[in-house]
């Protein structure tokens, strides 16, 4: 299952609801393009809802990291919401869990941007 991305706005935060796999050839490029579009438009507050992402590979991890660093370089922020067990597992093993600002409650996540 490829990655699907739905975008919504809430209190000045752009939320990307991601569903599917973030892997080489299946979701990495879509995620990269979506983040670049948002940052290009001047969005500063980006929240990636990974609640329906049940698989991420090393390529997908790379895209998350690139999204994080690209945003930071543009004075924007990318934060993560609702990690599934498998995604959390991979982020912890690779120590990226400590890099990202991660939430399991959407209201808290949105409030953190203010």
């Amino acid at each position: 299952m490829a990655l699907s991305i739905a975008t919504r706005q809430l209190d000045g935060v752009t939320i990307l609801d991601l569903s599917g796999r973030i892997t080489l050839g299946e979701g990495s490029v879509q995620l990269r393009d979506a983040i670049r579009d948002l940052i290009g438009k001047g969005d500063k507050n980006i929240l990636l809802n990974l609640g329906d992402v049940n698989y991420i590979d090393s390529s997908g991890l790379g895209e998350l990291v690139s999204a994080f660093t690209t945003a930071k370089n543009q004075n924007a922020e990318v934060k993560l919401l609702n990690l599934t067990k498998k995604v959390k597992d991979v982020l912890q093993v690779t120590k990226l869990y400590t890099v990202f600002d991660i939430y399991d409650d959407e209201a808290h996540a949105i409030g953190s941007f203010k």
Binding site: G25, D57, G62, T94, K95
Partner: protein, 163 residues
């Protein structure tokens, strides 16, 4: 050049291993990943362990297709799967220029933590009990081993010893 891995090729412990040659495509990666999932399910691994093994196998297949063979249609990847009752043994080989595992930077080092690449081999090592590299001249073969028996872990060091 389709060499489909049969859906029912592994149903449990058996003698010998099943080997496949596949083209250097992402379809082959998906086939190898699917075969690894079947292998772990047939071996009775729980969902988390099965996910880890299948993911490691997928990473190895991606490395073989992408970094090893560079999607070259003239080159193939080889994959083999075995359940000998004690371990799951999976090999993935490419026909590329070779890979020196010692030269792969540590993705956990602070200076590498925010790099966009370089986590594949690390994940493979993290998710399996043994990983062996063999140079084929040309190519690289990875042997990935997951122990099945809990007794196999009793005398092993804890996770801190894993790379």
């Amino acid at each position: 050049m389709k060499a489909k891995i049969k859906a029912d090729f592994l149903t449990g412990p058996q003698k010998g291993r099943r080997s496949f040659k596949l083209p250097s495509t992402m379809d082959s990666v998906a086939e190898v990943e699917s075969a690894a999932e079947q292998l772990t399910q047939a071996a009775g691994l729980d969902e988390d362990e099965g996910f880890r093994v299948a993911m490691a196998v997928r990473e190895a297949a991606v490395n073989a297709v992408l970094h090893g063979n560079g999607y070259d249609p003239a080159k193939q990847i080889s994959a083999s799967f075995e359940n000998d009752g004690k371990s799951l043994i999976i090999t993935i080989a490419d026909e590329g220029e070779g890979l020196d595992p010692e030269k792969i930077p540590d993705p956990l080092a602070p200076e590498n933590l925010l790099r966009g690449t370089g986590r594949g081999i690390f994940l493979i090592r993290s998710f399996l009990d043994e990983v062996h590299f063999r140079q084929l001249h040309p190519g690289t073969e990875l042997t990935l081993i997951k122990h099945l028996s809990p007794a196999a872990h009793q005398n092993e060091p804890q996770d801190s010893d894993k790379k």
